[in-house]
């Protein structure tokens, strides 16, 4: 596998950061894995849900790089809702800056594939 330049972002990472920031702009500060996969897929008509391996590996990579932060949801909250607790992610300031730099480098407005955020279920 070719080694990429430090600081560059892969398409899946761009998608994740854009989806996260899109949600934050709409007042949703935190997002979880499946929510992200659904957001990246848009309406689901043209694109399939991101695979588990790709999604969670990319999330871990972004967190390691400091572009995302994460924490476990409160157990009580999950219990009340009758579901497993979620790992909640937020885009950090560094993540926001890195995405802006990436866009500048690629002379792009927000990606044409920009995910459409839907409210959390």
């Amino acid at each position: 596998m070719p080694r990429r330049k430090p600081g560059t972002l892969l398409p899946i990472e761009v998608d994740i950061l854009e989806a996260g920031l899109s949600g934050q702009r709409e007042g949703q500060d935190e997002f979880h894995g499946f929510e992200l996969a659904r957001s990246i897929a848009g309406d689901g008509a043209g694109r399939k849900l991101t695979s588990h391996g790709t999604l969670y590996k990319a999330l871990g990579r972004l967190e390691d790089a400091g572009l995302l932060a994460s924490q476990w949801e409160d157990v009580e909250l999950a219990h009340q809702d009758g579901r497993p607790r979620r790992r909640l992610y937020t885009v950090t300031g560094l993540g926001e800056r890195r995405l802006a730099e990436w866009r500048q480098e690629h002379s792009l407005a927000p990606s044409p594939r920009q995910p459409r955020w839907e409210g959390s279920a």
């Binding site: 499946f34 588990h52 391996g53 969670y56 590996k57 871990g60 579901r83």
Partner: protein, 333 residues
């Protein structure tokens, strides 16, 4: 059990497989995240009116598509968790090959010796050929085991590989066999020497205060057993043959302890060489001093003489190689 239930079992079953051996926290996190993901997808499928089969198919498809990434993730996690991994994450393949090319030769050599050892008794149906075959095959197998063992215990693995080259040297007329032996012996010794100096996973160095001369103690114990056996056998030749090697080792060990050595391998090599040399001198003394009834052609004398002779030659090679490869490396205090 519904289709989504089965799909979830596939997702989590695969996750349990590829997270096996990963640090507990990381493994638990991945399993919990996937458990949550499956739950959310199933609930979402219900909300948008997707059929259970469609949801299950999507879940399994996401798992299948993510398998390569899962395996790469696992590889990275395992490498990260090994703080002192000999193959750190991100190490270029070229560098790995440069450092480990000799293992490929060791693999070929180990296989050749094993085949040779097994085949020797069939070729020459004598007791000597049988014993030689067993020894050669055992060292060949030891070399192959050493290659496998290196990942867990580099020092023992590399030492086994180095010792496994021993049978190649008597075949000096073939030229290529001893050359292959030397090509493996020197990097194996260097590798074992590096680990001795730096420490490695699975390698435990005793604290200096606890280091006793176990070689000397073992040699004295063997010498005691040999003396007892010689008395029981009642043969002068057998006594010379049995007692000379451990006595030679005791003498050699006592002599080399006074010589400063740059590292442990050099000390081991010198001990082996001095043992072989001392044994030769002792046998010569026995021959000169004994009466005509002493028959050095007796199997025990020939066998021990051959073994310690080979040990002496091998020790000389080890000593020289260790001295050459030691360079700036010095044994930790």
């Amino acid at each position: 059990m519904t289709a989504p239930d089965r799909a979830e079992a596939v997702v989590l079953g695969w996750a349990r497989v590829y997270t096996r051996g990963v640090v507990d926290d990381t493994r638990d996190r991945r399993l919990q995240e996937l458990g949550s993901d499956c739950f959310e997808q199933r609930r979402w499928g219900g909300e948008v009116g997707a059929s259970p089969t469609a949801v299950a198919t999507s879940m399994v498809a996401r798992t299948l598509a993510g398998m390569p990434a899962d395996l790469l993730w696992r590889q990275a996690q395992i490498a990260t968790s090994r703080d002192r991994s000999p193959h750190p994450r991100g190490r270029p393949m070229g560098q790995w090959i440069k450092d480990n090319w000799w293992l490929a030769i060791a693999g070929v050599l180990g296989t050749m010796l094993t085949v040779l050892g097994v085949g020797l008794p069939f070729e020459d149906r004598t007791v000597g050929a049988a014993i030689g075959g067993v020894v050669i095959a055992a060292l060949g197998i030891g070399m192959l085991v050493g290659i496998g063992l290196r990942r867990r215990n580099r020092r023992v693995g590399s030492t086994l590989i180095a010792v496994g080259t021993l049978p190649t040297f008597p075949f000096f007329w073939t030229i290529f066999l001893p050359l292959l032996g030397i090509a493996v012996l020197i990097p194996a010794l260097r590798d074992a020497n590096d680990v001795t100096a730096q420490g490695d996973i699975g390698t435990r160095l005793p604290p200096p205060a606890d280091r006793r001369d176990t070689v000397m103690l073992a040699a004295l114990a063997v010498l005691g057993v040999a003396i007892a056996a010689s008395i029981m056998i009642g043969s002068q030749t057998a006594a010379a043959a049995l007692c000379a090697p451990p006595l030679a080792l005791v003498i050699a060990r006592a002599a080399q302890r006074r010589l400063p050595m740059p590292n442990r391998l050099a000390r081991i090599g010198l001990t082996m060489f001095l043992t072989g040399a001392a044994h030769a001198v002792l046998l010569a003394v026995v021959v000169v001093g004994a009466d005509s009834s002493v028959d050095l052609g007796e199997p025990i004398a020939v066998a021990t003489g051959a073994v310690t002779g080979a040990v002496g030659v091998f020790g000389l090679v080890v000593w020289v190689a260790a001295m050459v490869t030691s360079r700036d490396r010095t044994e930790p205090a």
